[in-house]
Symmetry: D2
Subunit: 126 residues, 4 copies
């Protein structure tokens, strides 16, 4: 599956744990190179983790689903040593568009971020 060939997710160090039609789960242990200038996990790291499960959950059906929109609220900071988990849940899906909610939590099961995203499903080639 192409999600496993995501080179950027690999560069960041994200591990995809589960992937099914409409749901997915991934994990990332925060290391030094994930930090921003004040020593906290960079927003882009949290987004990328959420985005990967968003892509996995929406593409698991087969047809290519392209992210067109995402909103993220950052609610708790984290730093080196934290273990972040992202879980995607499908809110809706029709022939052209699908919507997902992704919750990012830390090892204490506290919410780190909440992400809401929409994909456009490409017409499949015949």
């Amino acid at each position: 599956m192409f999600i496993e060939k995501d080179l950027f997710a690999r560069h960041v160090g994200i591990e995809l744990i589960e992937m099914a039609e409409g749901s997915a789960k991934a994990r990332l242990k925060i290391q030094k190179h994930h930090l921003n200038g004040v020593g906290l996990t960079q927003g882009g790291v949290v987004f990328t983790l959420a985005d990967l499960v968003f892509a996995a959950a929406s593409n698991a059906y087969g047809p290519v689903a392209v992210a067109i929109n995402a909103s993220i609220s950052f609610v708790k900071a984290s730093t080196e040593g934290a273990v972040l988990t992202a879980e995607a849940k499908e809110v809706s899906r029709n022939r052209k568009l699908a919507t997902y909610t992704i919750l990012v939590t830390d090892e204490k099961e506290e919410t780190v971020a909440i992400f809401q995203g929409m994909v456009y499903i490409k017409p499949s080639k015949k």
Copy 2:
């Protein structure tokens, strides 16, 4: 300035070009490790580029500004060899909250993504 110490931005390869109170500009040349499983620039890469100028523009005043919310619309795909530029513009700023719009364009000056973000400005320590 702490933005220059952003380890994740360095890990991704982003170059901060300009930074002033309320505005900033950064650039990223897309390489193989920025791609997703279908060979396009990963959404997290585009977000991280936008997020860096968002952080730079909002923190240039001095007091620490923490991202609390961001929305991104992806409007054009890009791939290896593309040169993406993100520019942040301040929409509003009061004592506690500030809002920024970030436009991400490619080397043809076409829009790749638009990003809207809000920061919470921490009370400065005395």
Copy 3:
């Protein structure tokens, strides 16, 4: 409670059903004056319904909570005669900021829209 004095919610015809710390529920029967130019429920109507439970859930604690950001994804159209219900759930709350997810469903319990919002909690007057 001041939510009950919301004149615009009354003008639109929204009925607040439940309100507790961190949660709220409201209902609206779609009538002719809620429709847009193509005969469907106007986006502003759905937003206003979601926004009311967002305000109710975040203000039920006492201190004034001001909406600073909201994202809404519209996933199913509705029209005259539909009965829309919005339910707010708290995702996170600290001293200054709180985040809510609101699900808007129709009388068939199908998702009409999903809304994610953040409030800034005003320091309480002594």
Copy 4:
């Protein structure tokens, strides 16, 4: 044009001033029935004003464009007597999707809210 038949915009009292392909402008004088429980303009009012120019700008080309996503940041409160103006600007448009930024300002030309929205363009009937 169907935007002029928007019954909810009429119910709210919004006046559409300009409408062209990719841009639109509307105005609303805030009255008592636009206020929330603390005497300020209700968020749903500001959203509805922005949403109308979003619909006008995206539908002016002809094919029906349906709002699928919107993010709004509220940056300045207003109250009875304020005159709010919303202006839509097109960020991108392809065959299926288009993105708009809407700025809502008051009579002092200060920013009240910023709105970013995406539409799905329906295939035109032959």
